[in-house]
């Protein structure tokens, strides 16, 4: 199929339809409302159903009901809405229901602003809702990639019987880029038969479907927790995704960034290369499971690591865990919807190298530079 110019939010909607999703439940919130608007228009054309829910509290519960019948279902929201969905997300994870939730992040905390942010990294990757659960978190850096990842998200959700989050920043939702939908796309996972557990009316031909997260007997609940853990371990083993740029050559500083920020860092990398400063760039695509090993390997080749985020520093903690103190980890962050410029990133790389040459105490100073750290 020819490439088509599409806005990120609309591409998300179209990708869901291509993936066979016919049910969307959502509530308007900037900067992702176009996903809902697109699907309100498109779903009826393909025999699907769009429901505008009364709140983001209700939304994941509608997903719970809809996913429980074995259908492909999704919602999209932005940060404040994501907070409201945390109760339902925990139940979805507990009852092992597949669904896709797209969070087009905006700046917080509280009502915050409507411009791009990566402030929901902790919420997405370290829990958010109550209890001991994990969700695969996919982080696109372009409209094409969000298109691909949304489709993969449905396959991962079905395969693991788990909610899958797509964590995009507001830029992905709002910008227009060329997109290509693969006509003969194959699922990225072998898809299990849902009829064994879906609640579609019990006719005696299988055990009754009981969609449930309640296990009052502690032994039963621990067994359930361990079954879930085995599933999460399989995700860690099989689903890590990342991209590397310029890491096959020698470099002095490794930059780690995800989402659209990685594009800014890529420009900085190219600018620095012209000036003879060699930088490697690693871009996590799955935030859970996090590419710890890849980051460690890439960091070992560098003298120092720089993490760039649209937050006051969240993913940087995972990078520190990956590097385990073997290299200094520096941070550059912008907040509130402000974006780092390639020049600012390049300047911090230079500062790191200068201070690195000057000795340990200067190194400590350098790690505190940048918009915030």
């Amino acid at each position: 199929m020819a490439r088509k110019l599409m806005k990120g939010n609309e591409a998300i909607g179209e990708a869901a339809i291509r993936a066979g999703c016919r049910f969307y439940f959502g509530y308007p919130i900037t900067p992702q409302t176009e996903v809902a608007e697109y699907l309100a228009r498109r779903l009826p054309e393909v025999g699907g159903t769009f429901v505008q829910a009364e709140s983001e509290v209700a939304v994941p519960n509608m997903l719970y009901g809809a996913a429980g019948t074995g259908e492909r279902v999704m919602t999209s929201t932005s940060s404040p809405g994501m907070s409201l969905m945390m109760e339902g997300l925990s139940y979805l994870a507990g009852a092992e229901l597949p669904c896709v939730i797209v969070n087009v992040m905006r700046a917080g905390p509280g009502l915050g602003g409507i411009l791009p942010s990566q402030g929901d990294y902790f919420q997405a990757t370290k829990g958010g809702g109550h209890g001991d659960y994990r969700c695969p978190v996919l982080a696109p850096w372009s409209v094409q990639e969000v298109t691909d990842l949304v489709q993969d998200a449905f396959d991962l959700a079905d395969f693991y019987r788990n909610p899958v989050l797509v964590l995009a920043d507001g830029l992905i939702g709002q910008m227009m880029e060329p997109v290509e939908f693969q006509e003969d796309r194959r699922p990225c996972k072998a898809l299990p038969d849902k009829r064994a557990w879906a609640a579609r009316g019990w006719k005696g031909d299988r055990p009754r479907a009981i969609i449930n997260s309640l296990f009052l007997d502690p032994e039963d609940l621990e067994r359930h927790n361990r079954d879930l853990k085995a599933k999460y371990d399989a995700m860690v083993r099989d689903e890590v995704r990342f991209a590397e740029y310029g890491t096959d050559q020698d470099y002095e500083v490794l930059i780690v960034a995800y989402g659209t920020v990685a594009r800014v860092c890529k420009t900085a990398q190219e600018d620095l290369a012209e000036a003879g400063v060699r930088v490697g760039l690693l871009r996590p695509i799955t935030l859970f499971p996090f590419p710890y090993e890849a980051v460690r390997r890439a960091a070992d080749k560098a003298r120092a690591v720089l993490v760039v985020e649209l937050s006051t520093g969240q993913m940087v903690e995972d990078v520190q865990m990956a590097v385990m103190g073997r290299r200094p980890v520096h941070f550059h962050g912008r907040q509130g919807g402000m974006l780092p410029s390639p020049e600012a990133v390049a300047e911090q790389v230079r500062a790191i190298l200068r201070d690195h040459a000057a000795g340990p105490s200067a190194r400590r100073r350098a790690s505190r530079r940048g918009g915030a750290s």
């Binding site: 429901v51 997903l63 009901g65 019948t69 109760e87 019990w202 449930n212 309640l214």
Partner: protein, 282 residues
């Protein structure tokens, strides 16, 4: 050959129920199961029971079941029904669940006219958590969180959910029944059956509120609890059918006919705001 004239409905399992002696949850479960059997719905019924004393309903109904979070059963039911309209979806909710934490979900489920059936069990307390004040607790009623009796100055008056939902324009079947006596139980079943029939025909949203006893948390024997329901709950919660999809709309008298409204001009409706991205983030 002997003929079985009374037995366990097929839509109930053989699992013994955990309810307290004299609690009417068991009666209501049985009525639902009998109606499902009689209408031949067991194979396409899906029940949704959120937290509350009936949280284990999935062990008792011999059909596909969901356990849901507190108050959200109408949203879960919406999700299931929208994906598979041929399913017969019902929720089974307590008064804390439906009338407090889940008010948004029930109001909007009813207002969207979801073709589901809500079984609303009003026992005037939070049963499962040990008898706290519910939105339906009667004025002056003593509970663990209203030890001096419900003070309507502080807690407001008990919520009448059926009446509240009857105010919505969307067609619905709304009724209140009781199960404190055999005669009322027979009546309740007929009303419940009618509620499910509306769903089978795809006509409308339906909800039946059951006045129910909670001897344990009321601190009464089962017979005393039935008498208490009759003397205290019935006067405040009248039984009856409050809305049918065929029934007339509630039309208030026009303002112009009222003496105070003389000289008041009708204001033309403002033009709908235009523009796709009106939101400012507030």
């Amino acid at each position: 050959m002997t003929e079985l004239v009374f037995g366990r409905p097929r839509s109930l399992t053989r699992v013994p129920m955990h309810y307290c002696p004299g609690c009417t949850h068991g009666v209501i479960h049985r009525l639902i199961a009998e109606v499902l059997d009689e209408l031949g719905l067991q194979g396409r019924a899906v029940g949704v029971a959120p937290v509350g004393c009936a949280v284990f309903a999935y062990n008792y109904f011999n059909i596909d079941m969901y356990e849901a979070s507190h108050g959200r059963a109408p949203a879960v039911a919406t999700g299931a029904k929208r994906t598979h309209p041929e399913l017969i979806v019902f929720t089974y909710q307590g008064d804390g669940d439906l009338a407090s934490i889940g008010t948004a979900e029930i109001v909007h489920c009813a207002n969207r006219g979801e073709k589901v059936t809500v079984v609303f069990v009003n026992n005037a307390v939070y049963g499962m958590t040990g008898g706290q004040m519910a939105p339906t607790t009667l004025a002056g009623q003593v509970t663990t969180t209203s030890p001096l009796g419900r003070d309507v100055e502080q807690a407001g008056y008990p919520v009448r959910m059926v009446e509240m939902l009857a105010a919505l324009r969307t067609p619905a079947f709304l009724a209140r029944v009781s199960v404190h006596s055999p005669a009322r139980i027979i009546q309740a079943k007929a009303i419940l059956r009618r509620a499910f029939e509306y769903q089978v025909k795809g006509t409308c949203f339906s909800m039946v509120e059951f006045l129910s006893t909670c001897p344990t948390n009321w601190g009464l024997t089962p017979p005393e609890a039935c008498r208490w329901l009759e003397t205290h709950m019935l006067p405040y919660y009248p039984l009856g059918i409050f809305k049918t999809p065929e029934g007339p709309e509630r039309t208030p008298a026009p303002l112009e006919s009222l003496p105070d409204a003389r000289g008041v001009q009708a204001v033309p409706a403002a033009a709908a705001p235009t523009g796709a991205n009106g939101e400012t983030g507030e």
